[in-house]
């Protein structure tokens, strides 16, 4: 804390700024949620700040009359698979490059980050061509692989910083204490990396769950559409049902909210650990 922040006036200013920023970023979310709950009349004609009446009609119509449940499930499958594969692969790669003497490990890390800098669309088109070649086009699996191109570099890079900051003596102590190399990793390194793992998992989930670009290129058939794609096609359809769109958006955001609330403690720890030590 700088001395300035202890002065009451500066403090009030700081709180005011924090409040303003919070309001600014929270308002669209509030608007989305409240819009999904107001009757159509009010939504389209004179939306007040606080809805006069609440209704769940859009949620009913969304879940009962559209492909939304199917899309939601698709999104969930893709996101969970992406997270799982990201975790396993990036933990293995990151641990390998930190602890083993691997030729050109700097190049591996740099290469992955370089890949991460490509706009998704640039990767999506050649990937699509490749998937078509092997007959994987228009499958959820192809989407998972595409998402890995975004999540893996991030995961490896982040965990690399995490593992690097962890003294190797800890594993050696565990090995002397009776663990195998793998045992030392599972019992000492992984538990200590939980904040990093959670952070990577959340980021991977977020990237996969909200992805539109890759889904647009990879997925053609209705049965395989994910939620962002489904919502987008709803907007393009003959009648624009804002209420349904808002309800769909709220449902997209829901798992993210839940994850953040449950895991925010680790998440913040992970971010700062990565920033300071990595």
């Amino acid at each position: 804390m700088t001395p300035a922040i202890r002065r009451p006036a500066a403090r009030v200013g700081l709180y005011f700024a924090a409040f303003a920023i919070a309001l600014y970023s929270a308002f669209p979310i509030y608007w989305m949620v409240s819009s999904s709950l107001r009757p159509t009349q009010e939504l389209l004609l004179n939306p007040s700040l606080i809805p006069s009446e609440l209704t769940l009609q859009y949620y009913y119509s969304l879940l009962a009359q559209t492909d939304y449940p199917r899309q939601f499930l698709n999104s969930l499958i893709v996101a969970v698979a992406t997270v799982a594969l990201t975790m396993v692969l990036s933990v293995m790669i990151a641990y390998g490059v930190t602890r083993q003497r691997i030729r050109g490990k700097k190049a591996i890390i740099a290469g992955m980050l370089y890949a991460y800098m490509f706009p998704p669309l640039l990767l999506a088109i050649p990937l699509y061509a490749m998937f078509t070649k092997v007959g994987l086009n228009d499958t959820l699996f192809s989407l998972v692989i595409s998402h890995l191109t975004m999540t893996m570099p991030l995961g490896v890079w982040f965990l690399w910083g995490f593992f690097k900051a962890m003294p190797f003596e800890l594993e050696e102590a565990a090995m002397v204490d009776g663990c195998t190399r793998l045992g030392a990793f599972l019992r000492v390194v992984l538990p200590l990396s939980v904040p990093g793992l959670v952070t990577v998992a959340i980021f991977a989930f977020l990237l996969s769950w909200t992805d539109y670009t890759f889904a647009l290129v990879m997925i053609g058939s209705d049965v395989n559409k994910t939620v962002p794609l489904g919502l987008a096609s709803m907007i393009g359809a003959f009648d624009l049902r804002w209420g349904d769109v808002m309800a769909g958006s709220t449902l997209i955001a829901l798992p993210l909210f839940i994850a953040f609330i449950l895991l925010s403690r680790y998440f913040v720890q992970g971010l700062t650990a990565g920033a300071v030590k990595g």
Partner: protein, 360 residues
């Protein structure tokens, strides 16, 4: 039967030799100190014994078993690391008990042994804390405890006290010595601090550039250093080492014939490197003129820093309040306290009056 036996242990990294041909038999209950300057291969040797570093050549026996190829967990060793390496996510109790748990010792027995060791190290009140809530000294105790609890055949300690302040270091040193005698197991202790080595060791192994220079009891290496390196490394303040010439039973320290001391009996004529411990020289009514440049008061002793002719020397006296920088005093030395080394090979030269302790 030796408890631990190192047979020509060797370690190379790529083409670089880090440790070359270390052979050593350690008896049960013996405390061995590996001593040497930074980079001499002490840690590497210890880590080869631990199994944390693969052995490039030679063999290692613990008890009756050849453990050269075994994993650390199968070697019956415990190790204390320089930075303690306590598991940050576990309580102190879990840290202490981890090794027992991994070896399938049942919970009740684990609790009993952890409590016993905690009592022994006076850390019982810390058992429920996490490592980050401890001071350096307390972490050190826990690290020791984690080794003790396992009751292994050999204890390995790599500079365990180097992160503690001077006072605590002395206290922990005494404590380790007492503990080691009490449990009666073999211990290998790595340090670069010769005082630690002298006070703790049953035998000291002095290393340099991966090679063992000398193995012996503390006073043995102090009294009869095998070469110039050991002579300079053991003892504080450092031994005075200087080129000299032996002729007609005199040790000539400078160009003029007056600058000489009686040589030890049986010393061969010719050029030598001579060694004289500061504490073997003393201010005397008659002797060589010693120009005092600085005076260091150590309390019960007084260290005089100065020179005879061109030769810089240190002289350790009992407490003296009367000598000032700039004074010139006469100093002399007992001929039997002079160490002689070959100028070329730097190896100790035999004399009939070996530099042995003065007492009969």
């Amino acid at each position: 039967m030796a408890e631990v036996s190192l047979r020509k242990l060797r370690k190379t990294y790529g083409g670089v030799v880090a440790v070359e041909g270390v052979s050593l038999d350690i008896a049960r209950g013996e405390l061995i100190v590996l001593l040497g300057p930074s980079g001499c291969g002490k840690s590497t040797t210890l880590r080869m014994v631990a199994g944390l570093e693969s052995i490039s050549g030679g063999e290692l026996f613990i008890g009756e078993r050849n453990v050269t190829q075994l994993e650390p967990k199968d070697r019956d060793i415990a190790m204390v690391f320089q930075n303690y390496a306590l598991y940050p996510h576990k309580t102190i109790r879990a840290n202490l008990g981890f090794g027992l748990k991994m070896r399938g010792i049942d919970a009740a027995e684990t609790v009993r042994r952890v409590d016993e060791v905690a009592e022994m190290l006076a850390i019982t009140h810390l058992l429920d804390r996490k490592p980050r809530q401890l001071s350096g000294g307390q972490m050190q105790r826990v690290a020791l405890g984690r080794a003790l609890v396992r009751n292994p055949a050999v204890f390995l300690l790599d500079e365990p006290l180097s992160n503690l302040d001077a006072k605590l270091r002395v206290r922990m040193r005494e404590e380790i010595a007492l503990l080691q005698k009490r449990i009666g197991k073999a211990m290998i202790y790595v340090t670069h601090d010769q005082t630690e080595a002298m006070t703790l060791a049953d035998r000291i192994v002095i290393m340099r550039d991966g090679h063992v220079q000398q193995i012996g009891a503390p006073l043995e290496v102090y009294d009869r250093p095998q070469n110039v390196f050991v002579a300079g490394f053991i003892g504080s303040p450092e031994m005075n080492l200087f080129p000299a010439e032996i002729a007609n039973g005199r040790l000539r320290m400078g160009p003029s014939a007056e600058m000489s001391l009686p040589a030890p009996a049986g010393a061969p004529d010719g050029p030598v490197t001579a060694g004289l411990r500061p504490e073997a020289m003393h201010v005397a009514p008659q002797g060589l003129p010693f120009a005092v440049r600085a005076v260091e008061q150590l309390g019960s002793q007084t260290l005089l820093i100065g020179s005879i002719g061109d030769l810089s020397l240190r002289v350790m006296e009992g407490r003296r309040d009367d000598i000032r920088a700039g004074d010139t005093v006469a100093v002399s030395a007992d001929p039997s306290a002079i160490h002689l080394f070959d100028r070329e090979t730097e190896q100790r030269l035999a004399t009939t009056a070996s530099a042995a302790p003065a007492h009969a």
